[in-house]
């Protein structure tokens, strides 16, 4: 079954207009498999978030804050893994990044931090820069331009 989902995900990823479906197919890609392979998982996508709930329905205020910040910057094509679906994943990711809480954000396979750090990066302008390094243009740059 997983291989069916994975090939679907690959096909869907190729069609950028289906980014909503892409999100669904990634989260359906068995959270139970994810914890065994975290080193690979965090590198597979430019932006990876381990959170409680899903971007469509966060189950925690701090996880929701991460989703909202990414949304503000126009980052909607990221991998989100729901740790509430899988206790092994939840413990695994904490051990992997040596970080005790959820949410956890990774950029290009590198651990960035949790909600507090992402928020401060957003407030200081660092997040726009970091996204640029990933080849992602923050939507906030465009809104700034429009208002000038």
């Amino acid at each position: 079954m997983n291989s069916v989902f994975r090939s679907t995900a690959r096909a869907v990823r190729a069609v950028t207009s289906l980014s909503g479906l892409n999100q669904w197919s990634r989260s359906m890609c068995s959270a139970s498999e994810v914890h065994k392979n975290l080193a690979e998982v965090v590198k597979k996508d430019k932006v990876v978030v381990f959170m409680k709930g899903t971007p469509a329905q966060p189950m925690c205020g701090f996880s929701n804050a991460v989703v909202q910040i990414l949304r503000m910057h126009g980052v909607d094509n990221y991998a989100a893994y729901n740790v509430l679906d899988d206790q092994d994943l939840r413990q695994g990711v904490k051990a992997f990044s040596n970080w005790p809480t959820i949410p956890q954000v990774f950029f290009n396979g590198e651990f960035v931090g949790g909600c507090d750090i992402l928020l401060q990066m957003h407030q200081s302008g660092d997040l726009v820069e970091e996204l640029e390094k990933l080849g992602i243009r923050s939507a906030l740059l465009d809104t700034e331009k429009e208002s000038k």
Binding site: G53, G61, N64, R90, T101, G113, I117, L119, Q120
Partner: protein, 146 residues
């Protein structure tokens, strides 16, 4: 009195402090986790300013819980360290609490200079009820009460 202070748009920071005010009793008598957090952060980071706020009441956990905290640490030890390095220092100091009863920890880690140019306490986002459906939180709360 508290509600009228809270509704004041001016002294928001002050109202936030008051909303966390607890009537004084024997210090730490019924707040062992908070006391432990305070002690460890003081010992490890020698802060110039320290705030430890129990935010459990803002979350879907029973009254009197010590599961969700916010800490503000102002220390020269943070000079030259990235946000991630600073937060890791705090996490390390509180490793025991984080592996037992503390389920969530919001951190602000500032240098004295940063604090004097912006002496504000950040506000936690509203709870979305996750702890209600979370078996591990129930376990952690039990661990905390032992």
């Amino acid at each position: 009195m508290l509600s009228s202070v809270r509704s004041s748009s001016l002294a928001f920071a002050l109202s936030r402090q008051l909303s966390h005010f607890r009537p004084s009793m024997e210090p730490g008598a019924h707040r062992p986790v908070e006391t432990s957090i305070r002690t460890k952060l003081t010992q490890t980071l020698q802060p110039e300013h320290l705030e430890v706020l129990n935010e459990s009441h803002m979350h879907a956990v029973p009254p009197g819980s010590e599961s969700h905290f916010r800490v503000l640490v102002v220390s020269p030890r943070f000079e030259g360290l990235s946000l991630l390095q600073r937060h890791r220092l705090v996490n390390e100091a509180l490793r025991e609490e984080l592996s037992s009863s503390v389920h969530a920890l919001a951190i602000q880690a500032k240098t004295p200079q940063q604090w004097s140019s912006d002496p504000s306490l950040a506000k936690s986002p509203p709870c979305l009820g996750g702890s209600k459906h979370d078996q591990t939180v129930a376990e952690k709360l039990k661990a905390g009460s032992n």
